[in-house]
Amino acid sequence: MIEPTPPVATSSNATPLGKRFRQGRDRLATALITAGGIGVILAVLAIGVFLAIEVVPLFMSSAEVPFQDLSPLIWGTLKAACFALLFAVPVALGAAMHSSVFMSRRLRSRIKPTLELMEALPGVVIGFVAGLVLAPYVERHLAGALSLLVVMPVCVLLAGALWSWLPPRMRRLLPLGWAGLWLVPWLALWVGVALFLSPWIETQLFNGDLRGWLDSRFGLDYSARNALIVGLAMGFAVIPGIYALAEDALSGVPGHLGEGAEALGATRWQTLWKVVLPAAGPGLFSAVMIGAGRAVGETMIVLMVSGNTALMSLSPLEGMRSLAASIAIELPEAAPGEIHYRLLFLAALLLFIFTFLVNTLAEVVRERLRGRYRRLGGGS
């Protein structure tokens, strides 16, 4: 605890000279802080301006500029981000709903920092594990990996069904509030079972060769570094960010709204779905937007997992090359000032503009939401 320290009233302070000295010092410090602060902020904001200036000669030059080279990269960037969000958004929003409504307070105060730590995992580590461990594994066990998409929700629902048939005493031992924790071994068990049984299923349904079957049936070519793995790895990287913002939005909804609904006989899920979610909707939207911004700009994961072939295909089983990965690969070799170099700067500018716009949108929406909560809270 810090007490406000009164300025020491020494004799020198009492004289006009001392007073003038102190005031002068104050003015000087204020000027310094102002100059430094404005300088730093301008330097930070100069990034966009600098990139734009570097790019301008591209549009002024008379030479043919291969702008169309960028289109597969933009496609790849958006494809990677889409697959990442397809995986991350349901998981992150689901986790946020669970932890804001159902989870016990004590567990919640532990889970939130844990997921924050998950956000701090460096992309290069996630990329390494996904690219060199997961991708070869999935290549060998494609059927098992795909079966998890079905097995996971089914086994969770099974857990719910089994739980509701348990005697009340057992149910109290495994409360829904702690389900986030005790479902982990249950999930792990079923993942193991699914992976163990998948060769047998593959033999039964697809003649033991799912990849051949996919190829002949749908014309899907399988490459080891593909959008599925990118989506999973990058989804893993953006889940914590989306979760944290969505959780804040959901738990920021004024309590009396939900209490009113529950008093009228709604279950917790009904309250969440009909009352809390609509109120927090903009917050969830901005959380997803910020997640999208991160997914678009993530470099190392895409670089290490996507295979970096500039394809324009929709297939989840093929790779892509993203803007960020192209910059990381090609820029160190490009000579300053030439067209290729400036084209890569254009790619960086595109990334900058996109993420800046998306983040600004999210921030404005969040600002509005905060005002709304204040009004709702104040109206009671």
């Binding site: 605890m1 930070v44 904001l45 992309g123 969770v156 829904l176 009909k274 190392m300 900058f352």
Partner: protein
């Protein structure tokens, strides 16, 4: 009621009699899934990363066709054609076999044993050797069996001592003398250099002498000069304490040595050093500027529409991809400022650039810019948390604004600033993409700090843990052989970042506790 139809329908059909239908379980499942993935990743890194240093047992595999091979079983995998499974063995002996991996079909294996006399040797050439020690030959004769092993172990310790002495001489005596000679003629230095070189040659001569007769599992013999052997151990004969000792020595070597064999072996000391130094420089750069900007935004600037816009913009810059900062650093720092510095001060060395290429300084500056928003936002949040009446009280007692800030407000926000800096450091330690553009190197055996003026070489390229992972895993020749090392490096990086983040969380918690006691107006 559109949103509710699905759960109700489902609940009716599936006869979930009590509770709230299936949806709460699905959302609970997504928490569990996130935790499961995190757990799986951390466990994988920990087990593989730490397991690399464990002296794993060497199996002697006898095949049905009568041949034998010795190796460390790495994993078992189902064959692509579905006919049984295979073992992947690391059989080493690149000089005899041409490769170090062998796949063995499980069906073809007749028996597996772990004889105690199998030796694993780490050598300076050709990588590891796995097999048996037949004899130790020196000038006086040759020794066999256990006597050979005992004599070999003793001699190996001697050679290691000689090697340490030689490296010490090279680093502490020869290198400074060579630098002195580079600066000008110096007869005394020349004499001392000659003496040191003679001494090194003497040490080198003492190392050679014996030859090991080795035999691989399939009976090929090999004469191995003893000075090329770095370490030797018999994993099957080691007891648990022995193995623990070997494990901890392995961990220590990993942390303290430089890389060998094109980064696929040895340790990561230069990468640790580079990462830490770069991050330290970055935090020295980012802290004053970030704090200054935060104070300006929250305390000095007129709180109007413009300040709000600037605040949102700064916050958004935290979401701009790191590679964009890398591009900015390359364009402005390396080619812009660095190029200009070169033409002004280092024109005698052009066209080879001094500062006009990626280096430690530019990397730190780029990362400082990248993490500025984090520090600014944290400082601002800390300042906003200080109750207004504290400021008013100070001003009412006659303090000027500077005194109010310096003696009342800033001391209360120190933990918040510290949290910001630590979060910035944690973020910077894990960033690799911008570094690839502004100064990281595959291999920079000379760390950027040494005894040579000006001691800290800001223009040098440096190694980085994160880039080391990327480089070894994706540009190395034999990825399979380098994998354990990559796991260990990844684990180390994650641990460093984890510790930093935990510190930040702890500080923030401490900060919250402290402000709970303060009444808000």
């Amino acid at each position: 009621m559109k949103g509710l139809t699905a759960p109700r329908w489902f609940a009716g059909r599936a006869r979930l009699p009590r509770g709230e239908g299936p949806w709460p379980w699905l959302v609970a499942g997504s928490v569990a899934l996130s935790l499961l993935m995190l757990l799986a990743l951390v466990l994988l890194l920990a087990v593989r990363g730490l397991g690399h240093f464990w002296p794993s047992p060497v199996a002697l595999v006898s095949l049905e066709d009568g041949s034998q091979l010795a190796g460390v079983k790495v994993r078992e995998e189902r064959r692509f054609d579905g006919a049984g499974s295979e073992w992947l063995l690391r059989t080493a002996n690149r000089d005899l076999e041409g490769g170090i991996w062998q796949w063995v079909a499980v069906d073809a294996i007749e028996s597996v044993s772990h004889p105690q006399d199998l030796v694993v040797m780490s050598r300076t050439r050709w990588g590891d050797f796995i097999g048996r020690l037949v004899a130790l030959e020196d000038a006086s004769g040759n020794q066999q069996e256990q006597a050979a092993w005992n004599a070999f172990e003793a001699r190996l310790a001697e050679i290691q001592a000689l090697r340490d002495e030689r490296d010490r001489l090279r680093g502490d005596v020869v290198l400074p003398l060579v630098r002195r000679l580079e600066r000008g003629l110096d007869s005394e230095a020349r004499e001392r250099l000659a003496a040191a070189n003679a001494r090194i040659r003497g040490l080198q001569r003492q190392m050679i002498g014996e030859t090991l007769i080795l035999e691989s599992a399939d009976g090929q013999r090999l004469a191995q000069p003893i000075e090329q052997v770095l370490r030797a151990w018999r994993p099957n004969a080691m007891s648990l304490p022995d193995k623990l000792g070997a494990w901890s020595r392995g961990v220590w070597r990993f942390l303290s040595e430089g890389p060998r064999a094109a980064n696929t072996g040895g340790g990561v000391w230069p990468a640790i050093f580079g990462t830490v130094l770069m991050v330290l420089l970055m935090s020295v750069l980012v802290t004053p500027f970030g704090v200054l900007a935060g104070i300006y935004l929250n305390e000095v600037a007129h709180q109007g529409r413009l300040t709000r816009v600037v605040r949102i913009a700064v916050r958004n810059l935290a979401g701009v991809p790191s590679i964009v900062y890398g591009v900015f650093g390359l364009g402005v720092f390396v080619h812009g400022i660095g190029g200009t510095l070169d033409t002004w001060f280092f024109s005698d060395q052009l066209p080879s650039p001094t500062f006009g290429t990626g280096g430690l300084l530019w990397a730190s500056l780029t990362l400082a810019l990248l993490t500025l928003p984090v520090v600014i936002v944290a400082t601002e949040e800390g300042l906003a948390r200080v109750p207004e009446h504290q400021r008013e009280g100070a001003l009412a007692l006659g303090a000027t604004r500077l005194e109010m800030l310096a003696r009342v407000v800033l001391p209360m926000t120190v933990p918040a600033m510290l949290t910001g800096v630590i979060l910035a450091v944690a973020r910077a330690a894990g960033e690799v993409a911008p570094l690839m553009l502004v100064g990281v190197a595959k291999l920079a055996p000379q760390v950027p700090v040494d005894g040579d003026f000006p001691f800290l070489h800001l223009d040098r390229k440096f190694m980085h843990l994160g880039y080391h992972i990327f480089d070894v895993a994706f540009h190395g020749g034999d990825v399979q052989a380098a994998m354990p090392l990559v796991y260990a490096t990844a684990l180390l990086l994650v641990l460093v970042i984890l510790v930093l983040n935990l510190t930040a969380i702890f500080l923030r918690h401490h900060l919250k506790m402290r402000h709970v006691a303060l009444p808000r107006h």
